[in-house]
Each structure stands twice: as structure tokens, then as C-alpha cells.
Subunit: 382 residues, 2 copies
DNA sequence: GATAGTTACATCAGATCTGAAGTAAGTAGG
DNA sequence: CCTACTTACTTCAGATCTGATGTAACTATC
């Protein structure tokens, strides 16, 4: 549990999605001894998170007892905060998304106000949705470095005025429930790791308005010393030349391959666009300038990722964020990676989109709170 | 122990170097509970690795029992295999180097022959040296990717004909002792981590004839999926243009910043040189072309490291290998890192040379075997 | 020189995890 | 319907680690 923050959650996920339904299945899929599974499921049964409902078909021996997740136990709220909007969703305790909605939210204001507005938005969505059980916690992904231990925003290049702001405390006051916060790219990575095979090393990249990445090793999210691990947006790339970046430096990847950069580039060329989403829609419509720009962004990102892949040697590279929706973008990234990485590093490397598309961040934010919720549930139910 | 391969070794290191002499000291320095230290020291005392010799000064209470390492328990042999030479050393069980020697060794031949010659060289050195106790094991660092689990050479760009060769087995037959093998950059990293503060994340770079790096997180060496993690030598750098690399690709860092590249560059300019060592000596003598070349190599490496540092966000960046001996090289790397990294990533980042200079690989190779030796000693002495 | 406070170390009980053995409950074949 | 084999799950003992408590041995103070 402690050595795998997503341990119990992955177990529930497997049960809920019928990838594993009996204790033996779980042991096999998770690569853990049956005794360990037996103890853990027992704890979850006692806590009321799991229930048993009858028996399955025999495979030549004793029939397995069928496990299922007790949906009535409750749900959590997850949110993925963007520059202009916030995506809000409810997840059941197995980490499955029950309901999603998107609301406008301007984060370029006084943090306290934003938090209040955010809380109201969540309550609104909650009133509309019909989620089973009571709400157990809230997880939020922010578009910038977060000090997870302290629950504060570290250095918000896209969130001016938020420096050092104690978001977690502010949110807890509004919700009076467990609250967990982290960086959006990290949570993208965490969400994918829960649904993926255990023990694999994942490099998950969020290519949206900004660019970020998260690394999951052996089920653990690696956050680095200052919690800024995974930053690849300020790597110098030759084609960026001397273009100034929000970080104060010049020639960063972000100035040529981020959604924000694409918007700027296309506007320079006289294409009337305002958001990353519009860029993607325009490219999808076959607009030549937009398509070329998206493809170039993929090549640039791929070049940078090649360095990171050679260095960290992951099992999978997963791409999320708005740009990853484009086939041309994905192809460009793949091409650059295969061309520039060592054969040994790419031989069995899986390069793919994140499983949950635009909702991937929500799955991760949900996973982060759920981990706390289960710890609490098991501790108290003993 | 299991979660920190250098656990016992670090403990012994602290005792031997008088950084910690009593159990309470150890607990404080290692950040572990006293009870754990008590149990571990007891096991080491029983195994005969540690001894108690009298008591220390009181600090206002009960006098501490002084611990010391039993040098008579034995020693291990460590080797750092280079392209043309092999560096051979003996380390006591605290991981301290007792004796070093360097011998010529041509690895561009049939692996079996090389191993035989290597074993003979070790025995020669051993005959000359007067090391306390018996030999307990052998650790060897190779200049290429090693499959540590299987004990084989993976893909030896600098060791043609070694592909898949079972070095560990071959060595074990010669020495009839525990043998441990790994990549040289990995062992450089491991060696530094034992002597450094526990729990820190270290990015250790070997800049010699080739370029490699190793990452240590929370005392654990990260080897990646295929055991090729840490490769940064085949990243594309703009100044390398279309220069062909041994990896089959073009424009790699290795073609401009490695010792081999410097030799080639300077020879093109009419400077008569053959080895990386000569390049460094020439630069040290103030030869302008050599100095410029070394400095440029540092800048190139620094640019690439900036990406890796932003991504992995370590506590320390440590440089080893022949090039790191140059002040100009170090300054260039530092400069590039500070210029290109995020302020958050460099704010408390330590950038330095490896503690043990040319012997750093030996410390790591020794640490790797010693870990096995202690496991064995404790298991049998029970 | 009794008392209180400090420091160092040992020991133990509780928690977690896991391998091995045990129990339960089926199928298949005669 | 009895025996042998499978499969599924439980239980238990042993290992490791650690927080809490206990013991030992000293210093300082009145």
C-alpha cells in the first residue's frame, strides 16, 4: 500500500472493470501472493468498500467468490483546472468517471476568489449529477508546479498571483472533506498508471496549452526534489531561435510546440484563432497552415522526448492534452522518437495516447484523493 | 536493506570514517529509528563484520559503546574496465579503497580471452598488495550497457563481439567468489551515493572517452526497463550537424563532447594526440585548441544535461571521468546548466565533481559486491 | 550521596507482508 | 459414489521494521 499509492485503487479498478473478479485473478494480475490479496480484500470488505455477491463458474475446481465494488459507498469529485476553464467530474470509488462537465473559470484573479468560484462550480455540477452515496473527497489538478506536501502552489507561470498560495487549505475550508492537489501532468501520469499494468515505468506527457510531463516508476509517481520534475517545456530547441519565453529564457520548446505557441504562430499568419482547441479543430478541417504547425510541434516535442526516453528508459510513452488528439501530431512524435532514440530504448516501447483523452487528468485527480480515502476507511474500520 | 542496496554499506562507511561511531550517531545520520540500528549493528557484530572496542566519552549520560569495522573480515576487488586499460583496486568491507593499480587491457578481442587476462591481472595486483583478510568478492564496471539480472553484456558499441556474453558467469569461474557486474556510469553513481547523504537524488555523469550517466533516487540506482537508462550520449545536438556516430545515427552528443570526439577533432587540427588523457594533459598545459575544445565539450554536455535536470530534478549533479578533471570543463557545464535550467531546478542544486576522481568507479563496483557479501554474511551467521 | 535529568542502548509488541500449509468445494473418470 | 485431481480461498508462522517502553550508566545539583 505504502509502496504503491495506487495499490488499493488498482485492485478496485480491476474488479469494477471485470478484469479480475476473484481473489486468485487479482493475485495473478497484480503479481502479488494470494495471501496478500486475501488480507487486503478482507480489509476492504470490512470497510464496506467491497461486497461479495455469489459465486462464479468453476474452472474445474472450487467456484470463486465474486467480488464487486460497493458503489453506494460514495464518490469523489475531481477537477482539472485549465487557463480558462475547469473540467469537473465525479468518480466512483473504483476510479471510474460517472459524470463530467466543463465550466468557465478565470484563474488570473485573486486565488481566494477563484477557489470560492470553483467550489460553487463543483456544487453546481454536483446538484445536476446524480451520484451514488455521499461525497468522500476532492482532488484537483493545477496547470503548474505544486508542492504536494505543503498543499501550496509553487511557481505559477500561468497563474500569476498564486505563488505560495495554500490551495489545499483553502479548498478544505470550502468542502470540509479530504482534499488532494497536484500538478496536472503528474495527475495525468497517475491516472494512466492506475489503469495500466502494474510495475511498468510510464512517461506521460501533457501537450495542451502548455507542455508538461510526469514519470511513474513501479507504480510510484516521481516528483523530484522541488516537485518540479517532469518539466520539459523549457528545453532549448534550435528552431525556436531567440524567441522569448514566459520563463525569462529564450528558445524554449514551449515557444514552438505548445498550444499557446501554435495560436500565436497561426495568428501571425493571419489565421483568426484564440484557443488551442480552435487550432486543433482548424487542423482537423484540413487547413494547411494549421496542419503543418501541429505536425511541426509534434516533431519538436518528439526530439526533446527522445532525450528523456534515452535517459529514463520507460516502458511506455503516453501523450495527453489537446494536441494528442491529432493523428498527425502523434505520428510526428512517434517518428521523431523512433528516429532519435537508441534501438534498445524503443525496441519494446509503447507510444500511445492516454487512455482517457480529455478526462485523463480527472482520473488522476480522483486517484489521488481516493488513495487518502481508502487509507482512512481501512484505518477507521478496524 | 532491501529498499536501500547501500544500506549496510553506508552504515559501515559512516563508522569507518568516524562520521558516526555510536548507535545513536548512526540513527541520527541515517534518519532511522534507534531500534532499527540496534538490530542491524547486532547482526553485523554477530557476523563478525563489526566489533566493539570500549566506550566513548559521556556527553552527560551513559557512555556510548564504540563501534569499529573489523578490517580482518576481508576485502573485495573492484575493477573499472576502460577501452585500453583496466583500473583495479581493493576495498575493505567499509568500502574504502586500500590499493589501486592500472594495467593495460585490450577489450577488442574474444571475451573469454579478455576475461582470463583480466583475472590474471587482478591476481597480479593482489599478489603485490597486502590486503587484510581474505578476498570476499569481485565487482566489475564495463563501458557499456549491462544486463545486471542476467550478468551479461547487452549491446557493446565500444566492445565489439561481447554482445550477450555472460561475463558474470565467466568471471565467477575464474574467481570462485561472488561477482557483480554493471555499467560504469551506473557504478560511478552508486559509489557516490554510498558516501553521500542518504535519500538524496543524484545525477552522476561520466564524461570520459564515452559519455554515460546514472541516476540514484532515494539510495536506489535506477536502471530502467532494458537497463539502458542514463544514456545521454546519443542526443542530437545542433553543432554536431550530420557527423556520423557509432550508434548509426547522426549529430549525436558523443560526436562532439566525448573524449574520443576531442581526440578526433584535435587530430584534424594537426595536434598529435591519441587518448583522452593526452587531450586533458594538453589542455592543462594551456594549448589553446585543446582548451577551447574541452570547454566546448562542457557547454554541449551542459546543454543536454539541462534537459535531463529539468526533467529529473535531482539534488546533485556529479561529474566524473577524465574530462571532469578540467576546471574549464566544469565551469562550462555549470554555466550551461545555470543558464538553461529552470530557477526552481537549480536553486539548491549542487553541481560538483565526483568525490573520488578516477577511483569513483572502483568505489561503486566495490559497493555492488559488498552488498551481496553482507547479505550472505548475515544470512549465514544466523 | 540522594535525586533528578541526560544519554545510550536493548527489548518488546504491533504492524505489514509473504511462503507454505491447510481447508473448502468443486470436476472428471471409473 | 469413491478416488484423484483442480481450483479457490484462509490461516498461520516467520521475517522485517519501528514506536514505545524499559534498562543501564553516566552527570549535575543541592
Amino acid at each position: 500500500m505504502a509502496d504503491d499509492p495506487a495499490g488499493l485503487l488498482r485492485l478496485l479498478w480491476l474488479i469494477a472493470h471485470e478484469h479480475a473478479v476473484s481473489r486468485v485473478d487479482l493475485a495473478r494480475v497484480l503479481g502479488l501472493p494470494q495471501s496478500t490479496i486475501s488480507v487486503r480484500t478482507q480489509a476492504l470488505l470490512t470497510a464496506g468498500v467491497l461486497t461479495e455477491h455469489g459465486e462464479g463458474r468453476s474452472a474445474g475446481g472450487r467456484r470463486p467468490k465474486l467480488l464487486s465494488v460497493n458503489a453506494g459507498f460514495g464518490h469523489v469529485w475531481a477537477a482539472d483546472v485549465g487557463s480558462r476553464h475547469v473540467r469537473i467530474g465525479a468518480l466512483d470509488i473504483a476510479g471510474t468517471l460517472l459524470h463530467v462537465d466543463e465550466r468557465p473559470l478565470d484563474i488570473n484573479r485573486e486565488p481566494g476568489e477563484v477557489v470560492t468560484e470553483f467550489a460553487a462550480a463543483v456544487r453546481e455540477v454536483a446538484a445536476e449529477a446524480d451520484c451514488p452515496g455521499r461525497s468522500l473527497g476532492v482532488g484537483v489538478a493545477f496547470p503548474g508546479p505544486v508542492d504536494v506536501g505543503a498543499g501550496t502552489i509553487t511557481l505559477p507561470s500561468r497563474m500569476p498571483g498564486w505563488r505560495g498560495f495554500a490551495v489545499r487549505e483553502a479548498l478544505r475550508e470550502h468542502f470540509e472533506q479530504p482534499v488532494a492537489v497536484d500538478n496536472d501532468a503528474n495527475l495525468l501520469a497517475l491516472g494512466e498508471s492506475v489503469a495500466g499494468s502494474p510495475g511498468r515505468t510510464l512517461l506521460v506527457v501533457k501537450a495542451g496549452t502548455g507542455i508538461g510531463s510526469g514519470l511513474v516508476m513501479a507504480g510510484r509517481l516521481y516528483r523530484g526534489r522541488a516537485g518540479v520534475a517532469g518539466d520539459i517545456s523549457h528545453v532549448r530547441v534550435p528552431v525556436a531561435g531567440e524567441r522569448p519565453c514566459t520563463c525569462g529564457n529564450r528558445g524554449c520548446l514551449e515557444t514552438v510546440a505548445s498550444g499557446a505557441a501554435l495560436v500565436a504562430q497561426l495568428r501571425e499568419q493571419g489565421v483568426d484563432l484564440e484557443s488551442t482547441a480552435e487550432v486543433m479543430a482548424t487542423a482537423e478541417d484540413g487547413h494547411p497552415a494549421a496542419t503543418t504547425a501541429v505536425r511541426r510541434a509534434g516533431l519538436q516535442l518528439g526530439e526533446v522526448l527522445a532525450t528523456v526516453v534515452n535517459f529514463s528508459n520507460p516502458d511506455e510513452v503516453l501523450l495527453g492534452g489537446a494536441l494528442s488528439g491529432s493523428e498527425a501530431f502523434m505520428a510526428a512524435v512517434r517518428g521523431a522518437l523512433y528516429e532519435r532514440c537508441l534501438p534498445l530504448a524503443t525496441r519494446e516501447l509503447r507510444i500511445d495516447r492516454v487512455r482517457f483523452g480529455a478526462d485523463a487528468g480527472l482520473y488522476g485527480a480522483g486517484a489521488l484523493v481516493l488513495d487518502e480515502v481508502f487509507d482512512e476507511a481501512i484505518r477507521s474500520g478496524r
